[in-house]
């Protein structure tokens, strides 16, 4: 079995809440509270969930842009916590980010050429003569023309700016790109262009992608495997087809039914949840979804459900499946930890 590109094990990120002039810690935001997953080389993983579920924090913790409270992130088998500054720096070349807002993520005072040169300067790559060719190649790859290299970000539309952001992420030949809501700020017709571009890049450069999004439909289009998060926990993880055909967790089912389908003939009764997502400062005990769950049982507010394994690497954490024929080995990480037939490439 190949080593995963990145392995996240029992990752927790808690942010202290400080109050008063002494800045005493009065509580914590349990942004990410014990999640485990792996990403294989060339794989595309989607992390979906609503605001405050910890999806962005999980992504930021993977590149160490936010300090980790406990747990570990292994990059190609090496614990990132054990790496020194230069080790981390080399690693950041391999992990790149694409942000949601193409307006605030590009420096307005820099030309496209400078924006793309910046990472190459930092890492001392593609110097001298190679530089121009590299920039031309990058712009061409993302569907812009090399002639546009000396323009400033404000001279581009939103979709084009997102293309510049993608070119910047590609500048150093990364292995993994993390996209935090890469298409949600874009118009519908432009969104499709960027989704297709990401899919093409993934194929052409054999990239691994992590797409963080609130939009299950977008994630289904791009990703091989989907992780659903709720209040800092993974509630379900499966490959895209299995998740769509056979969602296990009531939250996943609700999320799927809540998405309006662009077909008036298919107006179905949606599952309408009561209330809002509880605060991650004071998450409910037991299963975190029990306050809104349509299938709630007595056990749900008392005991936290364990991650249960179904066929094809499909996992879900829900008490509904306590007495089913699911293999009850406590699955951590949520992806492949024991080699089975279908998982070996």
């Amino acid at each position: 079995m190949t080593t995963p590109l990145a392995a996240v094990t029992d990752l927790k990120v808690h942010f202290p809440i400080k109050k008063g002039i002494l800045a005493r810690t009065v509580g914590y935001v349990y942004a990410v509270d014990g999640i485990s997953f792996e990403i294989m080389p060339g794989e595309t993983v989607g992390i979906v969930g609503e605001s405050g579920c910890g999806k962005t924090t999980a992504g930021m913790a993977m590149v160490r842009l936010t300090p980790i409270t406990s747990g570990s992130v292994h990059w190609k088998g090496t614990d990132m916590a054990a790496m020194n500054r230069s080790g981390l720096r080399a690693l950041r070349r391999e992990m790149q980010l694409i942000f949601q807002d193409p307006y605030s993520s590009l420096n307005p005072r820099m030309t496209v050429r400078q924006i793309l040169s910046d990472p190459m300067d930092v890492h001392d790559r593609f110097t001298g003569r190679q530089r121009k060719a590299r920039i031309d190649f990058l712009l061409d790859t993302v569907g812009l023309s090399p002639g546009q290299a000396d323009l400033y970000p404000h001279e581009f539309s939103g979709g084009q700016r997102q293309r510049i952001g993608i070119a910047r992420a590609l500048a150093l030949d990364p292995t993994l790109i993390i996209g935090d809501e890469p298409v949600s700020a874009l118009d519908v017709s432009i969104q499709a262009q960027i989704i297709n571009l990401l899919k093409r890049l993934k194929r052409d450069f054999n990239l691994s992608l992590i797409i963080i999004s609130h939009d299950l439909a977008v994630v289904e289009y791009i990703c091989d495997r989907i992780i659903v998060m709720y209040l800092g926990k993974i509630v379900e993880a499966a490959d895209y087809a299995s998740l769509y055909k056979d969602p296990k967790h009531p939250y996943t089912k609700t999320l799927m039914s809540a998405i309006p389908v662009p077909d008036p003939a298919r107006r179905t009764r949606r599952i309408i949840l009561k209330g809002d997502v509880p605060s991650p400062i004071n998450p409910p005990g037991g299963c975190r979804f029990h306050t809104r769950c349509p299938d709630r049982m007595d056990i749900c507010d008392k005991q936290e459900p364990a991650m249960q394994r179904f066929s094809d690497g499909h996992t879900a954490a829900c008490h509904l499946y306590n007495n089913t024929d699911a293999d009850l080995s406590h699955a951590t990480p949520t992806h492949v930890s024991t080699p089975t037939k279908g998982d070996n490439p």
Binding site: S157, D187, S189, A192, Y221, A258, P260, P262, D263, I271
Partner: protein, 339 residues
């Protein structure tokens, strides 16, 4: 959807007729809304779809008389509310209609609520202003409204400030405020775009219920064709300041005529399509939305249209009725195009 109101029997409560709202700046004239016409019917949802800069929000602001002037100005057309042209009214008369006759809710509830007043204070202002209630009556009415929009423990919430409410709750409070004077028309500008999907489902459900209860005419502005399919009775598709297609919702989705509408529908990722083996790649609409200062000659979609013909590049097609109220602005369907 089982709406009791029959579309043929009821008179439109609002008719927008050849509305033109232009913005004047040093760069030139931006024709943000350029000859838009449609009707709102009581108890019906009229969906206005389009991408940024298509003029969907400016149309709504024109109806409310809220177009920032300068630089914007309604230069032509009529907005008939019960036969009265809103564009002829002075500010006092218009104020009476705003809130009581036509109410509006916005995308970002946090920036449209006043952060220094309690929710109760802001809702009761509506009752005091438009219905002449005293303070006590108005507050009781506000609690009542919060209950109608299903805010839990309304007696407590009425004394809270906007920042103490969640996003979904704030949007409910906005809706409570908008509906408080029982308006005949509710204009909702991207009301659920800033909300999570599960909360969006709640808000859409609520709007549905209120529409049936009050038989309000709702103008729902959105970029989300999924929301349109679920909510709207009729749909108006806008592109670069003009209506390009208009029809009853089912008709529009089943017999889509305009290449732009077809492109939009094909470009949205639909949950389950990939799993069911449908289109592995999304259909793209090439290029980008043209700047209003630099519109293509002829049909405004001509530079992105996959079915562009020679005529399209030079002559702008008229909005043509294809029967049963299905209108389209395209030379493929308008006589005189291919000749």
């Amino acid at each position: 959807m089982g709406t009791a109101v029959d579309k043929n029997s009821s008179e439109p409560v609002l008719s927008i007729d050849n509305l033109k709202t232009h913005f004047f700046s040093r760069k030139g004239v931006a024709r943000a809304v350029d000859g838009v016409s449609f009707d709102l019917t009581p108890g019906e949802v009229t969906g206005i779809v389009g991408e940024s800069g298509c003029g969907k929000s400016v149309t709504a602001l024109s109806v409310m008389g809220l177009v920032p002037n300068p630089p914007g100005r309604v230069v032509d057309g009529r907005i008939l509310f019960h036969g009265k042209n809103l564009l002829d009214l002075d500010i006092t008369a218009l104020r009476k209609i705003r809130g009581a006759g036509i109410a509006m809710i916005f995308q970002e509830p946090m920036s449209s609520l006043n952060p220094v007043y309690t929710i109760g204070n802001q809702i009761s202002e509506m009752f005091r202003l438009h219905k002449g209630y005293d303070k006590k009556q108005a507050l009781a009415a506000a609690v009542d409204m919060l209950e109608r929009v299903q805010i839990p423990s309304p007696h407590k919430r009425v004394n809270e400030y906007p920042h103490q409410l969640s996003g979904g709750m704030r949007q409910r409070a906005m809706i409570a405020m908008a509906m408080s004077c029982d308006p005949e028309i509710l204009i909702a500008d991207e009301p659920t775009t800033a909300l999570d999907v599960t909360v969006q489902a709640q808000i859409l459900d609520l709007m549905h219920r209120l529409k049936d209860d009050f038989s309000t005419a709702i103008q729902l502005i959105t970029h989300d064709l999924g929301v349109i399919a679920e909510m709207a009775d009729q749909v108006v598709v806008m592109y670069a300041g003009q209506v390009v297609e208009q029809a009853r919702t089912r008709e529009l989705f089943q017999h889509t005529l305009h290449p732009y509408t077809r492109g939009l529908l094909a470009s949205i990722p639909v949950l389950g399509h990939r799993t069911r083996g449908m289109d592995e790649d999304l259909v793209e609409i090439k290029g980008m939305i043209p700047s209003l200062h630099d519109l293509p000659a002829g049909c405004r979609f001509s530079n992105r249209c996959p079915e562009v013909m020679d005529t399209c590049k030079t002559r702008l097609p008229d909005l043509t009725d294809m029967g049963s109220g299905h209108q389209v602005r395209c030379w493929l369907h308008t006589k005189g195009g291919s000749a």
